[in-house]
């Protein structure tokens, strides 16, 4: 066994190990030696063995076998051993360890030791790792020390009391008197401890806070003394007298003045004095000013003082020290809501900070700038923000982009400006915008009908320059498809005229289709746009046909399906092509069925009005989400429905007949959009055959929700069993059938069967329901179907 080496030699040995493995070896040897030494009787080297173990512990190696040694050392009469023992206890023991309880007695003894440095060790350790039990045990002792000892001990006892109060809240009451009297001490250490203790007591107990409000004048006096006193060598830091104590007192004043007019008034003068007299050339002075500003803004200060505080923050913004600029902005961020005008005055400086080198400062400046955007400064602010976006660090781009969009939406001075801004963002940071940006922008564009020509030209040009930004490309493709005719016409008042031929436009779209940079969704946009152009151009329809047929064998299923359907549109349904592909109507914002996420150009499929007028063939893709696999109520081209209005055909585009008439009956149907009044549900006989009757009543639950109650009754002479009802509704309506009351209908109407059907009609289509009645009569099954076209309590449009 190698002899134990004095601490510093061991450290040297460890440090000279060239590899991790070698180091581990040295440490293992040392730890073995230390362990052996621990087991031996007192040999005079105990303290430095424990010290070695603590060093090893700091390197990250396990040292739990030293815990008992700490307990032993603490109990030793030798100061050197106590010192290291207590240090070990603070490093190795915490309240979760059992061994920590064992030192309670030692601490208790040492608290009343004749030597203040021994007392100090005990106090320090108790304040560091004292468990709740130990705190309860030793609290009276601490209270005694708070009152009757020298200032060296008092200041430590005060912080010990703070720890006790944090661990065991109820003991707070015990220390209130002592805390109060400590405020009259002259020693700064004790004063500081007293202030910290009072802060803790006030934060824990509002009643205590009330009592301590009376100390505000005393605190003001102490502060005045510190601020106005001359140079004090003991406490001076760069010309400020005891900044640590000043900051703590300001903190306590803040807590006492919060929500209290009286207390806030009595500290107004002092705060003004501190704010004006404190030297702000060094950080330490700014630290005090910062605390003052925070206090002023938190209490009920008068407006002059508030303005002074905000101006200090404004000065901070111009400070060379980056730290000061940073905290100025965090503080301004907190008050931008409440003191908006005051902060607006410093908008210029804040915007300049967007160009700061430091990433944290930039982030703060961005948030603050976004908060300061208003209707009056939107144009200039947006210029700065867009400039920032083009050079900002990547982690801030998404936040900047979405902030810009929000600001643009709220304060856009004109539609053209709004569109320009959104396009600019897409060009600069298209990869970082959220998914719903594309449908949002499309919706915006459709709304700005006078700008369609301008927009499509601009987008076409952007597309020519860069096809890598997916969101931009998607919007551009959509516009070219939609407004291709305007693009080809060439003249546009708002931009310089550019001659775009049909081939040019198709070239652009084909480039997008073929590029490996385009995502599948983008290619979907491009394909649909190409198809739409077939009705807007005259010469190159064949080219479009060939593009579409090529993609009919594309590996991407989505593209393939589209291409196949477009092909079908060319071949079998050419007469309908113009109608199907005509211009979209204005999209309404926030329609109930509006879904975000995958924008496939079928954003329109979620829009009620558009649905009414056009059947995009792609609607066929909608899964049959009906509860039952009954007849496609309004789908399936084979269905011969009764001559209903053309609206029936919206779901299956192929069965659109005369849908080209965008007006006529459709609009009339749409006219009845007023919500129906909630009148008591009338009953209507829906079915009456073979003695079986079915009546229904309905009740509107909400704008789109409806509950239908079906009641079946049997007036025939034979009982019916296995009576079931099934229902089908148009594709966009959601249906949920509740459990029926029973499945047998006894003869002569002795009992009824009721069943509730909950419907949700978010797209407000004309509501129809087909019900299938099935039952067994005298052993033989029977089935029948009835269509319900009108529901009692709803008007003709089914609303």
């Amino acid at each position: 066994m190698s002899p134990s080496v004095p601490l510093q030699e061991m450290i040297r040995a460890i440090r000279s190990a060239r590899t991790q493995c070698e180091e581990r070896g040295v440490i293992q040897r040392e730890c073995a030696a230390i362990r052996a030494q621990f087991r031996q009787a007192d040999n005079g080297g105990r303290s430095h063995n424990l010290a070695k173990l603590l060093y090893v512990h700091m390197l990250g190696y396990p040292a739990h076998f030293g815990q008992m040694e700490c307990v032993r050392m603490i109990a030793s009469p030798r100061y050197s051993e106590k010192r290291v023992g207590y240090l070990g206890a603070m490093m190795l023991l915490d309240e979760k360890q059992d061994a920590s309880l064992l030192i309670t007695n030692s601490i208790k003894n040492d608290l009343s030791h004749s030597n203040q440095y021994v007392q100090s060790l005990a106090l320090c350790t108790l304040a560091c790792m004292g468990s709740a039990e130990m705190c309860r045990d030793l609290a009276p002792e601490i209270d005694r020390l708070l009152r009757a000892s020298n200032s060296y001990i008092k200041k430590k006892a005060a912080l010990c009391a703070v720890h006790i109060v944090r661990k065991v809240h109820e003991l707070g009451e015990l220390f209130v008197p002592a805390a109060r009297s400590l405020l009259s001490e002259k020693n700064h250490g004790v004063l500081h401890g007293a202030v910290v203790l009072i802060i803790e007591l006030c934060e824990q107990n509002p009643e205590t806070l009330e009592r301590f409000r009376k100390t505000v004048p005393d605190l003001v006096q102490i502060m005045k003394g510190l601020v106005l006193s001359g140079y004090s060598p003991e406490h001076d830091v760069a010309g400020i007298s005891d900044p640590f104590l000043q900051v703590r007192i300001l903190r306590l004043l803040r807590i006492l003045g919060r929500n209290n007019e009286g207390a806030s008034d009595s500290m107004n003068d002092l705060l003004a004095q501190v704010a004006t007299n404190t030297d702000s050339t060094k950080t330490v002075g700014n630290a005090v000013l910062y605390e003052t500003v925070l206090t002023v803004l938190d209490i009920k200060s008068e407006s002059g003082l508030r303005v002074l505080a905000v101006n200090i923050l404004g000065r901070f913004l111009l400070n060379n020290d980056r730290n000061i600029r940073y905290i100025a902005m965090t503080s301004l961020q907190k008050i931008v809501g409440t003191d908006h005008n005051a902060v607006q005055r410093h908008r210029g400086t804040i915007v300049d900070c967007l160009k700061d080198q430091d990433a944290s400062v930039k982030r703060r400046a961005l948030e603050l700038s976004l908060a300061l955007v208003s209707a009056s400064n939107i144009r200039s602010m947006m210029k700065e923000l867009l400039l920032f976006l083009s050079s900002c660090p990547p982690e801030l781009r998404a936040h900047a982009a979405s902030g810009i969009f929000n600001a643009a939406e709220r304060y856009a001075p004109s539609q053209r400006w709004h569109i320009d801004t959104m396009l600019h963002v897409l060009i600069t940071a298209g990869g970082d915008v959220r998914d719903e940006t594309v449908p949002n922008l499309i919706q915006l564009i459709t709304n700005a009908s006078e700008l369609h020509c301008y927009t499509v030209h601009k987008l076409y040009r952007a597309l020519l320059l860069d096809i890598s930004q997916q969101s931009l490309v998607q919007v551009a493709c959509w516009c070219i498809g939609e407004y291709g005719d305007l693009l080809l016409k060439g003249d546009c008042q708002e931009t310089e005229p550019v001659q775009v031929t049909e081939d040019d436009a198709l070239d652009a779209l084909e480039t997008v289709l073929q590029s490996h940079m385009s995502s599948p969704a983008t290619r979907g946009f491009a394909l649909t746009a190409t198809m739409k152009l077939s009705t807007r151009i005259t010469d190159n329809v064949d080219r479009i046909r060939s593009i579409v047929s090529i993609y009919g064998s594309c590996i991407d299923v989505e593209l393939q399906q589209r291409a196949v359907e477009y092909n079908a549109l060319f071949r079998k349904y050419d007469h309908m092509r113009a109608a199907v592909l005509e211009r979209m109507p204005v999209i309404e914002k926030n329609s109930p069925g509006h879904t975000n996420g995958e924008s496939t150009g079928e954003a329109v499929k979620d829009v009620p009005t558009a649905k009414m007028k056009q059947g995009e063939p792609l609607l066929l893709q909608q899964p049959a989400n009906q509860v039952c696999d009954l007849l496609d109520l309004l789908g399936g081209s084979e269905e011969t429905l009764q001559p209903g209005p053309a609206v029936d055909c919206l779901v299956s585009g192929l069965s659109v007949h005369a849908a080209g008439t965008a007006g006529g009956d459709l609009l009339d149907l749409l006219g009845g959009f007023e919500p129906a009044e909630l009148s008591p549900a009338p009953q209507v006989l829906a079915y009456d055959k073979g003695g079986v009757t079915l009546t229904l009543s309905c009740e509107k639950q909400s704008d789109t929700g409806l509950t239908v109650t079906l009641t079946a009754s049997n007036s025939s002479d034979s009982d019916l069993s296995s009576f079931t009802l099934q229902a089908a509704v148009p594709k966009s309506v959601q249906l949920h059938m509740k459990a029926p009351s029973g499945d047998s209908l006894p003869a002569r109407g002795t009992a009824k069967v009721t069943q509730m059907v909950v419907l949700n009609n978010p797209n407000k289509v004309n509501l129809k329901m087909r019900v299938r009645v099935s039952y067994t009569r005298q052993g033989s099954p029977f089935q029948d179907t009835v269509q319900i076209d009108s529901f009692p309590g709803l008007d003709a449009a089914g609303q």
């Binding site: 700091m58 401890g193 900051v247 980056r322 430091d358």
Partner: protein, 157 residues
């Protein structure tokens, strides 16, 4: 439990820990994780960045003195600028004690660094605002240790 300061770490530019003081109870695993996080975060900072970081619900104030990083975590509502002063004060205390302190002093006399810290801060709060008072207390404690050792005629470590 909310103390003004949560922890203080000293580490070298290679990320080797030189001192760790925890002001709230934490498990060994948590401590190790925090050390890893802090060293990674602080060492990755650009040279002319500001000295404040956000980490979880805390503010982390860090400053480099020669080859050592001083990293102090404070509660969110505490004053960052005064925290910088706290770090600076501790460095001054070390400097006075060791005379032109350098990293090696803190490595080979780590227990002294702790003793000095324990005269300056207790339980996550400042206990003494006067530099001279702290220095005097340390000297007196050291003296006590030596005289007691002499008295007991045992070698000081």
């Amino acid at each position: 439990m909310l103390t003004c300061m949560r922890f203080l770490l000293l580490f070298s530019r290679q990320g080797k820990l030189r001192l760790q003081k925890w002001f709230t109870p934490m498990s060994e695993r948590e401590k190790k994780k925090i050390i890893r996080d802090m060293t990674t975060m602080v060492l990755a900072r650009q040279p002319r960045s500001c000295n404040f970081l956000h980490w979880k619900d805390l503010k982390v104030i860090y400053k480099r003195y020669a080859s050592l990083y001083f990293c102090l975590a404070i509660e969110n509502q505490e004053n960052e600028l005064i925290a910088l002063e706290v770090i600076h004060r501790y460095v001054e205390l070390l400097d006075k004690y060791f005379g032109n302190v350098c990293e090696l002093d803190i490595i080979f006399n780590f227990e002294k660094a702790y003793f000095i810290l324990d005269e300056f801060l207790i339980g996550g709060e400042i206990q003494e605002t006067s530099k001279q008072m702290v220095n005097r207390s340390i000297e007196a404690s050291d003296m006590l240790q030596e005289t007691m050792e002499e008295y007991m005629s045992k070698p000081a470590f």
